[in-house]
């Protein structure tokens, strides 16, 4: 029994001695650990915030198409011009409808003028040839379209084909 008591006492004394010798080192390690944990937690929080911001920024989808139509060429009455503008606007919106919901960043803006250039739209028996002059791509695509009545455009067909090579001003 005495040996057991000695053993337990020795064990406790040894543990205490070891504790006294290593406590400072252990304390330092514990402090470093908690500092690193804190650092890790703040870094994780920062990453989560950055991810949120990135997701909010990157997912900017097209929600509307806003065509701005300019009638060029031979003079037409204001009523006709208005009707033509409305119809061309509707047609442009229809043609560009597949863009709605597309992510702005992933969109190739050079393709948009190609979707409209040299298309003909018939309004009240008069044909208009379209040409994109300016394109602004953001959540709403603002597209400036020049519409030329067909009689004029058929005369200067070569001009149109030449102009088709000129890219429209594109801004994102």
């Amino acid at each position: 029994m005495r040996y057991l008591a000695c053993f337990i006492l020795g064990f406790i004394l040894g543990a205490c001695l070891t504790n006294l010798l290593l406590a400072r080192q252990q304390e330092q390690l514990y402090l470093s650990k908690s500092a690193l944990e804190q650092h890790l937690a703040s870094a994780r929080e920062e990453i989560a915030r950055l991810k949120e911001n990135l997701a909010a920024e990157s997912y900017q989808a097209i929600v509307s198409i806003e065509p701005v139509i300019t009638i060029n060429g031979e003079k037409i009455s204001s009523v006709e011009a208005r009707a033509a503008t409305q119809e061309i606007s509707r047609k442009v919106q229809e043609l560009l409808a597949p863009l709605i919901g597309q992510e702005v960043r992933r969109l190739n803006p050079a393709l948009i003028p190609l979707m409209l250039d040299n298309r003909t739209v018939k309004v009240d028996g008069r044909e208009f040839t379209l040409k994109v002059t300016l394109l602004l791509v953001s959540e709403s695509v603002i597209v400036h379209v020049e519409a030329q009545p067909s009689s004029l455009s058929s005369v200067s067909r070569s001009d149109v084909s030449l102009m088709a090579g000129c890219p429209a001003t594109v801004a994102i």
Binding site: I12, N19, L20, A23, E27
Partner: protein, 107 residues
Amino acid sequence: MDDFLAKLLLSFFTALGVVLGAAIIGSLAAILVGHPPLRTMTRLALEIKIWAIAAAMGGTFSAIEIISQGLMQGHIRVLAKQLLFIIMAFIGAQLGYWLIQVLAGGE
């Protein structure tokens, strides 16, 4: 006189031992459960200090009884002796706390 001195030393070392023992052996538990040992040691030493004085006095009730007797019956000598025991216990506990604090890297 020798008896008185022995009692003084006894209260001093008892208080010292209580503080040191509680702090050092108590902090072994901190190691086992993954808590910081030095901080646990100093906290234990601080918390146990007052109890170390009480333990060194052999329980508070008897000491209070003796003090009250000294006051009521005018036994100033007994009262002074008791006060000295308390002071020695306090010094022992304070020394223990100071040792632990120095060990923990404070003061």
